[in-house]
């Protein structure tokens, strides 16, 4: 089971689907950010799995380095996203995204 690429990719697909459900369904802005983190982790797992089963030389190392870059971008995304959520919370006094409707006509 751990010797087949399909296992890791299906696992990654399930985690990505869970994250996309959370992003679409939750009302809290921070829950949506947590769901985005889940999706990024799923993509990372797929990248590492593809590198692990790659045929060219150093494929594993390149996949791992790529996943490390994705982790850094995820850290930056979490910083800016949470700063935006806190800035909006300071104005609107609610973390629920469906009450952020001041630009609606």
């Amino acid at each position: 089971m751990s010797d087949s690429l399909d296992t890791y990719l299906i696992l990654s697909g399930i985690l990505f689907a869970i994250g996309s459900f959370g992003f679409l369904a939750r009302r809290n802005a921070i829950s949506m950010l947590m769901s985005i983190e889940l999706m990024l982790n799923a993509v990372n797992l797929a990248i590492v799995a593809f590198g692990l089963f790659g045929r060219y030389p150093d494929a594993t190392a390149q996949g791992a380095v790529f996943a490390l870059m994705v982790m850094t971008v995820a850290a930056a995304e979490a910083t800016v996203g949470l700063a935006i959520v806190i800035a909006i919370y300071r104005n609107k006094k609610t973390p629920l995204v469906d009450e952020y409707d001041s630009m609606r006509q």
Binding site: D6, I14, I18, I30, F53, D58, I86, P95
Partner: protein, 197 residues
Amino acid sequence: MLAKLPQIIFALLVMGAVLGIAVVMLIALGQDWEDALLWILAAVMIGSGLLVVTMRDIIRCGLAMIVCFSALAGIYVLMGVPLLGAAQVIVYIGAISVLILFAIMLTQTKDAPTRLVFQTQAGPAAVAAVVVAIVIALAVSATDWGEVARNARLGTALMSRILFQQFIFPFEIVSVMLLAAVIGGVFLAKREPGGPS
């Protein structure tokens, strides 16, 4: 303590079920330790991921997210990329989860857990997520990957050589981007003098 007893029993039952399936896989089906460990970690990861998106109390969602990331770090170690597992623990569990927990504590109102958790579009979203998972699983299992074999375990020396020789330019770009994100985060979250408190 007594009021928590059903939840504790339920959690113990779930852990027992996962361990039991692993033991059955090891003994009855004759698979090796690596498969059993992968099964346990995958079950923990998917289960806590489901808890992250469905639980009512958002603090518990954050704690379940830490469990999910830990299981993924274990999967990385099992895949033979231990440095990435360490980076997962340091970056995700140590930094991002703590940041998210702080943001939850800053924005949580008293009535938040008792109110509706999901949007009205939660039903279609669940259908869409299940369809996405099924399509990915079908596409993966229908694809012929050719003669793929699992590579050897990745040592830290090789990975650092690749990172600091072949990928040195993306490394620098990413570090500059991280600096920009930190400055941007401080700027966005800063309270303006005279603005809303």
